[in-house]
């Protein structure tokens, strides 16, 4: 993003008059051209070609290439020797405590497996808990799983995996039913049905939600059930490396206790990566809406072990992240506000894109406004556009914003922006990893014994995700992969701890040295972003 020198101008001084005139729609060619020129995925700058590993030859954002082609954080003084026995032996090790990890753990335990969940922060600290807008599930009378499939496939620019998608739409209602029975309170309409709302890029209203606290409402319930399930849980214990077993299979992981630095060696018949996304890499210096731990750890560990990644050049920059006040930079304003009738305006008070275009098109349009000088300048020298929620109250009745989006009203209010009366200044924020570790409908990666579910996986959304499909993915695939991995783990041919090693890490590092002779590669997984040295992007 372009940054100018800071100034003391308040962007709320001299608001333009907002012209409600609707902008035209784009032809397919115009849409393509817009994306090519302005959407970060398609721009040639700040990209690198991979030299090592299963995706060798692919061109990815610098920040992603840098963590993939990295040295092990265990290898600073040479790789440690494997101890004579593991600290714990389980059927299934679930790495990650967000929506997918919690679902997988609960269902794997129920299937009879001995489960260990290891998570970097606390259970529930994840992108799932932050989800505002809702979950897509085809419940409308004129809607169907088939229609849902078509919308998702079209929304992903025809690059999603049809098999993965068909499971997603078919199992969606059942998993939502499970959540409802556990006491998750989704919004209801007056007749007691689940309320359905409109999201960008879809042909039917299909979003169920819990006001704008959807993720929080689900995670509160799931977390309690996980804690009551008997699953063994190790918090503040991120995985730092996978362990290799017979014939290159996955056989466990090395965890690091962040409080005392000790390593924990886990022998597992199956390992499920539910490590989530990578927004904290701040690709292209974008601010992010992601939680503190979203550093792509699972990608790094799986890649070293030989698991192929899919669509890793593709990220979702959510169009409407807060850009001012700067201390809030990156925080998400849900797309549901545009579904409800919020409008966007440039510096001249003109609308410049139909607000319910797909996210990538809306984001590219905002970037274009800002790069062509029609953006609103913030005091820290960044630019944004106005997102005006007041039209919602005008069209749907006074108090609608407050009732439907209490979280946004509360959070903006804490920073002296009354969004029921004032527009919010927004700019795209790095929101979602569209791609990830390639897998099939049971979460199998290319490495035997290694599974993936949730944002860490790639394929469902192709190169663009529609709102509400990722939460659905997290619950459908968290459950499904948890059950399948548990079953296969319990029937896996026994192997000995003596067959377990870090050989794949050693091999990967030798390949790195061959391709990058004499240069020192960064270490990864990063685990935690360090804002002590580098202040938050988009903050002055």
């Amino acid at each position: 993003m372009t940054v100018e020198n800071p100034s003391s101008l308040n962007p709320y001084d001299n608001l333009p008059a907002f012209d409600p005139g609707e902008p035209g729609s784009f032809s397919p060619e115009e849409r393509e051209e817009l994306l090519r020129r302005y959407y970060p995925d398609y721009r040639p700058d700040r990209k690198a070609t991979l030299h090592v590993g299963p995706n060798k030859g692919e061109v990815l954002p610098d920040e992603v290439a840098s963590i993939l082609e990295s040295r092990s954080i265990l290898a600073t003084e040479g790789l440690p020797a494997v101890p004579s026995s593991p600290d714990i032996e389980v059927d299934l090790l679930v790495i990650g405590g967000g929506g997918a990890g919690i679902m997988a753990s609960i269902f794997a335990q129920e299937a009879g497996a001995r489960v260990l969940m290891a998570t970097k922060l606390r259970v529930g600290d994840s992108n799932t808990v932050m989800a505002e807008g809702g979950i897509q599930v085809a419940l409308g009378e004129d809607d169907s799983p088939v229609q849902h499939f078509k919308d998702a496939y079209r929304g992903g620019h025809f690059t999603g995996d049809p098999e993965l998608l068909s499971v997603l739409v078919r199992e969606g209602p059942e998993v939502i039913s499970w959540l409802v029975k556990k006491g998750v309170l989704f919004d209801r309409d007056p007749s007691g049905n689940l309320s359905l709302r409109k999201g960008g890029g879809t042909s039917r209203p299909r979003l169920i939600s819990a006001k704008d606290y959807t993720g929080l409402e689900v995670v509160r319930v799931l977390k309690e059930d996980l804690l009551n399930s008997g699953v063994n849980i190790w918090e503040f214990s991120p995985a730092v490396e996978l362990l290799q077993g017979p014939e290159g299979s996955c056989a466990g992981a090395v965890l690091r206790d962040v409080d005392n630095g000790s390593l924990k060696w886990v022998k597992a018949n199956a390992v499920l990566l539910a490590t989530g996304g990578a927004g904290r890499l701040h690709i292209g210096d974008f601010a992010t809406s992601n939680h503190f731990g979203a550093t792509g750890d699972g990608l790094v560990m799986a890649y070293r072990m030989g698991a192929r990644l899919l669509n890793m050049e593709s990220f979702q920059y959510h169009p409407t992240g807060v850009i001012y006040p700067s201390e809030m930079a990156g925080m998400l304003i849900t797309e549901a506000v545009r579904g409800a009738g919020a409008r966007m305006f440039n510096r001249d008070g003109k609308r410049f894109v139909q607000e319910l275009e797909t996210r990538d098109v809306v984001a590219a349009s905002i970037i274009r406004e800002c790069e062509e000088g029609r953006g609103v300048r913030t005091p820290s020298g960044h630019h944004g556009v106005y997102l005006d929620l007041t039209s919602i109250d005008r069209e749907m009745g006074e108090g609608t914003v407050e009732r439907r989006f209490p979280n946004i009203v509360k959070l903006m209010g804490k920073h002296q922006v009354d969004c029921t009366k004032q527009p919010i200044l927004v700019y795209p924020t790095l929101h979602y990893q569209n791609g990830g570790i390639a897998s099939d409908t049971s979460g199998h990666t290319q490495v035997e014994g290694l599974y993936v579910a949730g944002e860490a996986s790639g394929g469902v959304h192709g190169k663009n995700r529609l709102m509400g499909n990722s939460l659905l993915e997290v619950f459908v695939y968290g459950r499904r992969v948890g059950v399948d991995a548990a079953r296969e783990a319990m029937s896996r041919k026994p192997f000995s701890w003596h067959e377990v090693n870090l050989g794949h890490v050693d091999r990967f590092q030798r390949d790195l040295e061959k391709e990058f002779p004499g240069t020192s590669r960064p270490e990864a997984p990063i685990l935690f972003p360090d804002y002590r040295k580098h202040p938050h992007p988009a903050r002055s």
């Binding site: 922060l121 994840s126 068909s166 556990k182 606290y213 509160r220 309690e224 201390e327």
Partner: protein, 217 residues
């Protein structure tokens, strides 16, 4: 630059930082006490005082700007007693509350829980709503609860109001509200295999055919 005290030590930081950002700025590594950085995970509960004011204030550290003279500390975790239950198996959801949380009927009306809540929830009301069996009321009152546990820190009746509210909300959703009809109907038609053939057909199409079929809204 403004003067603040972090965990009792004095620092100078620029204006316009949140508490967490002020900690980063002064070189603190924050791992316990940080989560979503978006005001919903409840990891960053904090207490603070302002000069010349006897009151103790509370906040979420990722959402609260530091001010001149502010003295704050993170309360990364507050130990809490939590009930074990399966919401679908409890014989009587209303009675269940008193079995699981017998202390929930002992509120002494001091209102400290409401005053401490960084989300502005009327916690005391929710405790009484729960005790009187108005679980729907609890659900509405506590929708924005981030489970930070600050209410527990101040309750003189030794309750965990956020856990009580969670139970009441879940009991309302699971046991009192009728199962949504539109969801039931859709599950029935899925169960009956209504969409299977069409979904299988779609997954077997060539990429070009699939694009054509899915192309129009």
């Amino acid at each position: 630059m403004i003067q603040v005290w972090i965990n009792g030590k004095e620092w100078q930081v620029p204006e316009g930082l949140t508490m967490i950002q002020a900690m980063w700025h002064t070189g603190h590594e924050v791992i316990h006490g940080i989560g979503c950085l978006g005001g919903v995970c409840g990891a960053c509960a904090a207490v603070y005082r302002m000069p010349g004011n006897f009151r103790l204030f509370n906040a979420l550290a990722c959402q609260t700007l530091v001010k001149e003279g502010m003295a704050f500390s993170l309360i990364a975790s507050y130990p809490t007693q939590r009930a074990h239950y399966d919401i679908e198996q409890i014989p009587d959801a209303k009675e269940g509350l008193f079995t699981l949380y017998p202390e929930s009927a002992t509120c002494r009306n001091c209102n400290a829980c409401t005053e401490v809540c960084p989300q502005g929830i009327d916690v005391r009301t929710s405790v009484w709503q729960a005790a009187f069996g108005d679980f729907k009321g609890v659900a509405e009152t506590t929708m924005s609860c981030v489970m930070c546990g600050l209410c527990v820190s101040r309750c003189i009746a030794e309750m965990a109001p956020h856990e009580i509210a969670l139970y009441a909300r879940r009991a309302y959703g699971s046991r009192e509200l009728p199962f949504p009809e539109n969801l039931r109907q859709r599950m029935d038609s899925i169960e009956a295999g209504t969409y299977d053939e069409e979904l299988v057909r779609l997954t077997r199409l060539s990429a070009d055919q699939l694009k054509t079929e899915c192309g129009a809204k």
